[in-house]
C-alpha cells in the first residue's frame, strides 16, 4: 500500500479567490494604468507639438537671451544665454524667500507670544494685526505696498538722505557698499576663530554645569568674543575696508547697494502675511503645553524667563514645527506673485520672458515646476530633520 501523506491544513482558496493574489493583481493593474496614462500624456504632447511644427528640446537654453534684467545676484547681461536667465530667476526667488522666512519667523514668534501676553493692550494689538493681515489676499497686500506706499516715495532728485550715505527714493533704497581691501582676510580669520572659540566655550560650560551645577554666562561672553575678535583683527590689519557710497549720476543713483522697491514690497508683504499665520501656530504650540508644566517649573524655583526657555518652548516646538514647515513652503510658492509687480523672480524671468521669447512652453514650465518641487522638498527635508531633533525622545 502506498503511504498517504495527510495534510491537516484545509486546501487554500483558488488563486482568483485568494485575497493576497487579488490585491497584488489589482495593484499591478492600477500601477500600469497610471504609467500608461503618464506615457500617453507625454507621447501625445510630443506628437501633437511635432505635427503643429513647434520645436522641442532643451537646446534653447544655450541660445543668447538678449534681454535685460534689473537685478541679479549672479553676473548677467543681455549677451548671456537663456540658461543663465534661469539662474538669475532662481537666485532672486531664493533671496526673497530666505529673507521672507527669516523675517516672518521672527515677527511671527513675537506676535504669537504677544497674543498670549497678560497685557491687555499688547494682546489685543496682536489679535487685530493677525485677524486683519491674514484675511486680506496676499496679492492685494503686495499691490498695496508697491503701488500705494513705495511708489509714493520722492523722486531721485528729492531723495530722503541720511548722513549723505543712505538714500531713499522711489527707485529704491541706496546703501553704501563695503569694499574689502588687501588684508581683509585677517578679519574673516578672526571671525572664524571667534566662532570656534564660542562653540568650544559652550561645550566646556555645559560640561562644567553638569559636573558642578555652576552656570557660566555663555551668551554674554560669546557675543563679546564674536564682536571683539574680528574687531581686533580689523584694527591689527590696518582697517582694510572702504565704502562705495552711492551718488546721483544722470537719472539715478549709481554705486553702492540698491534694494529695489519691487524686492522691498514683495518682502514686506510676504513677511507680514506669513507672520500672521506663524503667530497663530506659535500661540497654539504654547497653549498645548499643559499648565502643570509651568506650575511644576515655578515650584522648582525657576524664574519666568527660564521657565519659558527650558520648559515651555521646547515642548511647544513639537507642536509648532510641522505646521511651520507648511508656512515656509507657502511663502516660497507665494513668492511667485513677484511677477505682478515686476520683481525678476523665477516665474517672471524664466517662465515669463524666456518662455515668451523662445516659445518653449512645455519645457520651461516643466523646469519651473521641478524647481519649486525641489525647493519645497528640501525645506520639508530639513524641517523634518529638525523636527526629529526636537521631538519627544523615547528612552
Amino acid at each position: 500500500m502506498k503511504k498517504q501523506t495527510i495534510d491537516s491544513r484545509p486546501a487554500g482558496p483558488k488563486p482568483w479567490y485568494d485575497p493576497r493574489i487579488r490585491s497584488i493583481f489589482f495593484q499591478i493593474v492600477t500601477l500600469s494604468i497610471v504609467f500608461w496614462a503618464g506615457w500617453t500624456l507625454i507621447d501625445n504632447t510630443l506628437s501633437n507639438m511635432q505635427s503643429r511644427g513647434i520645436s522641442t528640446g532643451f537646446g534653447f537654453l544655450d541660445e543668447t537671451a538678449g534681454f535685460g534684467i534689473i537685478m541679479s545676484l549672479v553676473p548677467y547681461d543681455a549677451t548671456m544665454s537663456y540658461g543663465r536667465t534661469f539662474w538669475v530667476g532662481l537666485t532672486n526667488t531664493l533671496l526673497v524667500s530666505a529673507m521672507g522666512v527669516v523675517a516672518a519667523t521672527i515677527l511671527g514668534f513675537i506676535l504669537g507670544v504677544a497674543r498670549l501676553s497678560s497685557n491687555w493692550l499688547v494682546a489685543k494689538v496682536a489679535l487685530v494685526y493677525i485677524e486683519v493681515i491674514r484675511n486680506i489676499p496676499l496679492l492685494l497686500q503686495i499691490f498695496f505696498w508697491y503701488f500705494a506706499v513705495l511708489s509714493n516715495l520722492p523722486s531721485p532728485r528729492q531723495s530722503v538722505e541720511v548722513g549723505n550715505a543712505l538714500f531713499l527714493n522711489n527707485r529704491g533704497l541706496y546703501l553704501p557698499e563695503p569694499v574689502a581691501q588687501d588684508g581683509f582676510g585677517l578679519v574673516w580669520g578672526g571671525l572664524v576663530a571667534a566662532i570656534i572659540a564660542v562653540v568650544a566655550l559652550r561645550i566646556w560650560a555645559k560640561k562644567r554645569q553638569l559636573a558642578t551645577g555652576q552656570i557660566f554666562p555663555t551668551f554674554k561672553v560669546g557675543v563679546a568674543v564674536l564682536l571683539l575678535l574680528p574687531a581686533l583683527a580689523y584694527l591689527v590689519a590696518g582697517q582694510p575696508l572702504t565704502w562705495d557710497v552711492p551718488a546721483l549720476k544722470g537719472f539715478n543713483f549709481g554705486g553702492g547697494i540698491t534694494i529695489i522697491p519691487e524686492l522691498a514690497a514683495l518682502w514686506i508683504a510676504l513677511s507680514l502675511y506669513t507672520a500672521s499665520f506663524i503667530a497663530e501656530i506659535v500661540r497654539s504650540g504654547i497653549l498645548s503645553v499643559s499648565k502643570g508644566q509651568t506650575e511644576a517649573s515655578k515650584a522648582l524655583g525657576l524664574p519666568n524667563s527660564l521657565t519659558l526657555r527650558l520648559v515651555v518652548i521646547p515642548q511647544a516646538m513639537r507642536v509648532i514645527i510641522p505646521p511651520l514647515t507648511s508656512q515656509y513652503l507657502n511663502l516660497v510658492k507665494n513668492s511667485s506673485l513677484a511677477t505682478a509687480i515686476g520683481y525678476p523672480d523665477l516665474v517672471a524671468v524664466f517662465m515669463g520672458t524666456t518662455l515668451n521669447q523662445t516659445g518653449q512652453a512645455v519645457e520651461v514650465v516643466a523646469i519651473t515646476m521641478a524647481v519649486y518641487l525641489t525647493i519645497s522638498l528640501l525645506i520639508s527635508l530639513f524641517m523634518n530633520i529638525y523636527n526629529r531633533a526636537v521631538a519627544i525622545k523615547e528612552r
Partner: protein, 341 residues
Amino acid sequence: MNNAKSIAVGAALILGAFTASTASAATTLESVKEKGHLQCGVTSGLPGFSQPDENGNWTGIDVDTCRAVAVAIFGDAKAVQFTPLTAKERLTALQSGEIDILSRNTTWTLTRDASLGLNFTGVNYYDGQGFLINKGIGVDDATQLDGATVCIQAGTTTELNLADYFRAKGMEFKPIVFDTSEQTVQGFASGRCDVLTSDRSQLAALRSKLADPSSAKILPNTISKEPLGPVVRQGDDQWFNIVKWVLFTQINAEELGVTMDNVDDMLKSDNPNIQRLLGTDGDMGAKLGVPADFGYKVVKQVGNYGEMYNRNVGPDTALGLDRGLNALWTDGGIMYAPPVR
C-alpha cells in the same frame, strides 16, 4: 466583483478621454462653423487696437480685423467672441487651440513664424518701437537715455530691441518688466521709471491714459521694425488663406475705391477687378471655402482698410496717428495687397 467592475469602468473612461483628445482633427473652418462663432484673441485693453467701449462692445483695428473674418465666414460681424490676453499668454493661447485667430498687435518675427508652430497672415499695422518720457526730464533724443530706468511689458519683442539698442549705443539701462501695459503706465506715472518703451502706436494710446497727457512726449527715435498682424496656427492652409485674403480684400477695396457707403453701387460696376472683389464675377469665395459674396459683406459691414484705420487710430481719433507707412503703396506708404484674381 464590484472592484473589478469599477476599475474596468475607470479604465474605459480614461481611455475614452485620451482617444477623444487625439481624435479631434477637424479643420479650423469646420470647427468654427460648428461653434457658430469665431474665437479671437485680443489685448486686455489698448485704445485704438482692441478695447471694450462703454457698452462693452470691443472696438479697435485688431478687433475689426477679426470681425472681417467673421463676416467672411458667417456674414455677421457679431459672430465673434473675444478673449483678452496678456502679451505673455497670447502665443500659447493660439498654440493650444483656445483661440482660432490671434489679432493682438503681435510683431512678425522669424522665430515666431518658424519655431512656434504659427503663421503670420499679413500686416495690418506697420509700427516701430519708440520711447515715451516726461517733458520735465529734459531729454530730446534717445541717445541721451544712458542710465535710465525703463518700464516695459513682459513677453514682447520690445524687451529684446531695447537691450539691443542700448548695447549697440554702449549705454546702460534698468528694465522694470510688468505683465500688462496698464501696469507699465502706472509705473511710468508714479515715477518708478524715467522712460516707457513700446511700439509707437501703443505709446500714443498709453499716453492718452495718463492723467495729464501733455506732460509726456514721444521721442523722435524709432529703434525697430514692428510689423503687426494676425496670426493663425500652422498646418491648416485653408484657414491661413482665409485670414490672409480677408485682410488683402480690405486693402484691395481701398485701392479700388470701394467703401462702406458706395459698395452697393459698386455691385453694378463693370470694372472686372471690383467684380471679382465683390463676388459678382468669378468664384473667389469658393476657392477659399467661404461664400462667394464675402468681399461685398466684409466691405459693407467692416469697411475697407482705410476706413478701418481712420475709424480706430486715424488722425481724427484720440490717438491721432497719421497713415505714414500704413498708407497704400499708391499714396507713398507700403500697404500693398496681391491682386484678387
